[in-house]
Subunit: 309 residues, 2 copies
């Protein structure tokens, strides 16, 4: 079984959408990535940090999903990273209400010995120096390194971000971030410029409008599944990345053709994530639901045209 190493936040979120609001619930990029990747036959481990206030039940949940949590440091007397946000009516934008870094401020990631030879590494959204710190600990070159990041790091740690971007095979970012990073409005041109920064594969996430996978002059598109209701977009991008990396780890195939399948699976899993608040839907999700939705993705996109010249 291939090893998948995940680094990212494990955190508390408090979320408000037009459909309601939550108290502090389980959140964090690595949480969503881990839950998503657990639908595949992989040996996944999370490297992260939480405070002493972090409930044992949340850690048990990850263990139940088969995720190794040896690399999640619990800081005695420390408080867990907390994020609170409120989504606007169209759910396409949000305001951050509270960000308390807490134990994340001094996070020094330690990769468990057994995962220093991981086949796939997914660097979830975190300070680029932390992401680089994880790569530095690998004792064997991974088959694939995937980086997820966001505009925050472009604004306040661009040189460090550029340095880690140069070391990865795949970058996943959203459309606005791709435009900011590249200075190009056209996503085709943006992807070209980001290629030139290092990553051989560029995945641009467009939320409800799907995701584009670029590799040299090739491009593949995975739509988002049209849904009756989007409840809470929190974690959708991380879930996408987790499905992408999980599928690749399971299939042990880093070809472009297989990455097409991976973005379809990423989109598939993300379509569940948004159906309930926080991680709720992902916790309950069953494999047969994912397979059924895969048929919906096929029906949504596959066509047969015979050329008549």
């Amino acid at each position: 079984m291939n090893k998948l190493l995940i680094v990212g936040t494990v955190a508390f979120d408090a979320i408000e959408t037009p459909f309601g609001k939550t108290d502090k619930i389980l959140g964090g990029a690595a949480t969503y990535i881990g839950l998503s990747s657990s639908f595949f036959n992989v040996d996944a481990a999370i490297v992260s940090v939480v405070g002493e206030d972090f409930p044992e039940t949340y850690l048990d949940l990850l263990i139940d999903k088969g995720i190794n949590i040896e690399g999640i440091e619990v800081v005695k007397g420390g408080k867990t990273f907390f994020w609170s946000g409120k989504y606007h009516n169209d759910l396409n934008s949000r305001d951050t209400l509270i960000t308390e870094l807490n134990v994340l401020a001094d996070f020094n990631p330690v990769v468990p010995e057994a995962y220093k030879t991981s086949d796939i590494v997914l660097l979830g959204n975190l300070h680029p120096l932390v992401q680089a710190g994880v790569l530095d600990q690998m004792t064997q070159k991974p088959k694939l390194i995937v980086l997820d990041t966001m505009n925050f790091w472009m604004d306040c740690a661009l040189p460090e971000l550029m340095s880690v971007i140069a070391r990865v095979d795949v970058i996943t970012i959203n459309d606005e971030e791709a435009r900011q990073l590249s200075g190009e409005y056209s996503l085709v041109k943006a992807a070209e410029k980001i290629h030139a920064m290092g990553p051989k594969y560029v995945v641009i996430k467009k939320g409800e409008h799907g995701a584009l996978l670029f590799h040299n002059k090739e491009v593949f598109f995975a739509p988002a599944l049209p849904l009756e209701e989007v409840f809470d977009p929190t974690g959708a991008g991380d879930t996408f990345a987790g499905g992408f990396a999980g599928y690749i780890a399971q299939s042990e195939n880093v070809s472009f053709d297989n990455m097409k399948n991976a973005v379809i699976y990423g989109s598939n899993l993300a379509s569940f994530c948004v159906e309930k608040f926080g991680t709720e839907r992902m916790e309950q999700l069953e494999k047969k639901e994912v397979y059924a939705r895969l048929q919906q993705f096929k029906a949504l996109t596959q066509f047969e045209i015979e050329l008549e010249h």
Copy 2:
């Protein structure tokens, strides 16, 4: 050869985009629809009206493309409909600068005798009473009636619009218009409500984000081709509708599965339309380019996942 009847404007446009501006050039919904449908093996005719100021060369262009113009009335001493608009930097929105209805104000469509038994009717964007007036002249029930419309008619002629919507098989509108018409934000719910107004098929155009085809509980998605540069979006929606109707007319097949192909062709042709100002690209476009781009659409969307249970 199947007959395709097109009603819509044949007009002058003056366009400004971030890439430049034009003088009065050839425009109008029926013009774009006609040019787009001419890539298929169909017997197409346009019903429209122009003024005496409309250049003979523009009419010759339509004739050269094999389009019957018997139904384009030339009003002696009249002036042709003129629209002028300016696109914003992202090309996703525009301001209308000038609208001179001119001869369109008193337009009374007359369907040529030979096209009163057309197989496919495409009602391009126009006053819904004019669209209804064309349907009233059909002496034989068409195999498929396609309606394209816009928010302007929702604002100022809603009862008339609802009445013509109830008479058509397919409606094509953009996402914002679908939301306005249905009062639903979710496009899935919007499509359901619009189904209930009459059309068995609902096509929601999302511009650079592709198009959705709904039929009962089924849905199909045609992406827009990711382009390096979009020069001028004018006419893209009409070109989409023309490709859709042209392909269906050629293939003589109004099944849902064949409509999937039709939206792919619509998206294909629209991707050319935006590459140059006005109708320029569509005038020069060759069939082999359309076929080559069809391969790009396949590469963009087709995937092979084997299920592992």
